[in-house]
């Protein structure tokens, strides 16, 4: 099985994000970046499928030069090779624009399976995988936790996936390969890169493709015009002081003001 995993580099979860001077994006200068969490689960699922059924795992990421660090991390965890779609104006593209880049770079590889994360932690669009499926003319299933290959005839496989529904419900869904699955976090246990893996990653192939050479439109259908701080819905009483003082004040409030103790 040839499996491609789309991974996005996003600001680290605990990073302090600040609106930049244009008011249209965040200050990137001192940000630390990491692999989008659902993408790490997608990579893990792909690596486990390969361990069971053989084949190849290729990661693809689009973004500026710094993205190569996240690509190396994926290679260190066990991906076989990578495609870096170099793109410096990612923030100006909408979900369709990014999906067009990915689809154009993926198409010549004709994978049996494409896994993406369900949703990115920075933009949270939750769309890219579904759009790539549409652009490539492939069936898809979203919000997937586990993937199983249930039948194989020649190069065609039947895929069975566990899909999350709302409020603790699930369903299984079957679809023929080639297909696209968007992976929700929590379906498996993430591995760490080993020292050996990190060493090997250095020798693995990373093919770079330039966004401009893919011949896709960069004109967005929706434009992000401004970034602002959210408005508060409630006025929160912040209790100050040392941990002990704040704790004592809170207990007082809960007992005599909110009357919930």
């Amino acid at each position: 099985m040839k499996i491609i995993v789309a991974i996005k580099q996003v600001p680290e979860r605990d990073a302090q994000v600040h609106i930049d001077s244009s008011g249209q994006w965040i200050e990137e200068a001192n940000l630390q970046y990491a692999m989008n969490e659902p993408d790490a689960y997608a990579l893990e699922e792909a690596l486990q499928l390969k361990e069971k059924a053989g084949g190849e795992v290729i990661v693809i990421s689009t973004g500026p030069e710094r993205v190569s660090q996240t690509i190396r991390e994926a290679l260190a965890k066990g991906a076989d090779r990578a495609i870096h779609v170099v793109c410096d104006d990612l923030a100006a593209r909408d979900a369709l624009g990014v999906a067009r880049l990915l689809a154009a770079a993926i198409q010549p590889e004709s994978p049996d399976l494409l896994l993406t994360g369900l949703q990115s932690e920075d933009l949270g669009l939750g769309q890219t995988g579904v759009i790539v499926a549409e652009l490539l003319g492939l069936p898809h299933a979203s919000l997937i936790l586990q993937v199983e290959i249930i039948a194989k005839e020649g190069s065609k496989a039947q895929i069975k996936a566990r899909r999350e529904l709302e409020e603790g419900w699930f369903q299984s869904i079957e679809l023929p390969s080639p297909a696209v699955l968007t992976i929700q976090s929590g379906g498996n246990k993430l591995r760490y890169a080993t020292l050996m893996g990190i060493k090997r990653a250095k020798t693995k192939e990373v093919r770079t493709v330039h966004a401009a050479d893919l011949g896709v439109s960069a004109a967005p259908a929706v434009a992000l015009e401004a970034i602002t701080l959210p408005k508060k819905q409630k006025s929160t009483q912040i209790l100050n002081g040392s941990a002990e003082e704040a704790a004592a004040a809170l207990v007082e409030k809960l007992k005599f003001e909110a009357r919930v103790l």
Binding site: I26, G124, L175, V222, P230, T236, L261
Partner: protein, 321 residues
């Protein structure tokens, strides 16, 4: 303006989030210019329900191949409807089902969905959350062709005028072929045995990724015990297997409404908030003063949970003596 609102059914009725999405559409056009769309293999009942409101009209998109739901079926049917109706906007509730097909449907029209919208201002300018709720982004439709928008649950209060006269109901029969439907969905099933009923708990202490490691959980368990509270968690804690999934609060877990909800090291992502916003009193302990959880908290302590939680446990014990 010609706005289509795609309504979803839940438990035999049009869902609350669908009514909310229709109310959001009123920011785009007056009621007479909004068409309510119901879709499925049998749509008579939801169509009648929609027609009780003063929509311009109701369209029943009906075909035997539209049950059960599949992205292929819904995309094919709604794309044909959009071509016939030529709407300026298409509005959806932001449900798991809509996430599954609306991006592909929008793409078929050369558009990108503006998803999970929480506010619509004149322009129209659509606001959605970025960076896990820490920032908001304002979006404008820039393309030619319909603008596709999905509306976050709870962001608008459902308030629609009732129909004075009978709302016209039309039927639209899409051309769908069984071979177009490539996925085979199974029946929904419950994930795990439900042995704890967080839904009826009066006191809940809920723990998030700020706890760092499973070994640190006893710290919050002690606080829960002192309060006589149930222990709950955000998704990553259950994803890691540190607590069973039945203790997860949020859109993919349980919805709770205790008298006291004490969130420890939880950032307050929308998928978590929808499960606990209805709590009577919300307390947040978080080291980040800008964490979105403080937007819904009544009381907050900004600080290191490893210092605050033990202190609070002692204070609660002292108060209960």
């Amino acid at each position: 303006m010609r706005v289509l609102v795609i309504l979803e059914e839940r438990g035999g009725h049009i869902s609350r989030t669908s009514w909310e999405a229709a109310t959001a559409a009123l920011r785009l056009a007056p009621m007479q210019e909004i068409t309510a769309v119901v879709i499925g293999a049998q749509t008579e009942l939801p169509a009648a329900e929609a027609a009780a409101k003063a929509f311009g009209k109701v369209i029943r998109v009906e075909h035997p191949l539209l049950a059960p739901y599949t992205s292929d079926g819904y995309c094919a049917a709604l794309h044909q409807l959009i071509q016939q109706e030529g709407p300026t906007q298409v509005v959806f509730p932001h449900t798991y089902q809509v996430r599954d097909y609306a991006p592909a449907l929008a793409c078929r029209s050369g558009q990108a969905l503006i998803g999970d919208v929480i506010e619509i201002a004149d322009g129209p300018v659509f606001t959605r959350q970025l960076m896990q709720g820490r920032l908001n982004g304002s979006y404008r439709h820039a393309g030619n062709g319909p603008c596709f928008v999905s509306v976050q649950a709870g962001a608008f209060r459902a308030e629609l005028p009732d129909a004075a006269a009978a709302t016209p109901i039309e039927t639209f029969t899409p051309a769908i072929d069984a071979a177009q439907i490539r996925t085979r969905p199974g029946e929904p099933f419950r994930g795990s045995a439900q042995t704890v009923d967080l839904g009826s708990a009066q006191w809940i202490v809920s723990v998030g990724r700020g706890i760092r490691e499973a070994e640190n959980l006893p710290l919050v368990q002690e606080l829960a015990t002192a309060l006589g509270a149930e222990l709950a968690a955000s998704r990553p804690i259950c994803d890691n297997g540190w607590l069973p999934m039945e203790r997860q609060v949020g859109s993919s877990g349980q919805s709770v409404a205790p008298r006291l909800y004490l969130a420890v090291g939880i950032s307050g992502a929308i998928q978590h908030l929808v499960g606990m916003k209805g709590s009577q009193c919300i307390v947040a302990i978080n080291k980040d003063p800008d964490a979105p959880i403080f937007e819904v908290a009544d009381y907050g302590i900004v600080g290191d949970l490893f210092e605050v939680v033990p202190a609070l446990t002692e204070a609660v014990k002292a108060a209960k003596q």
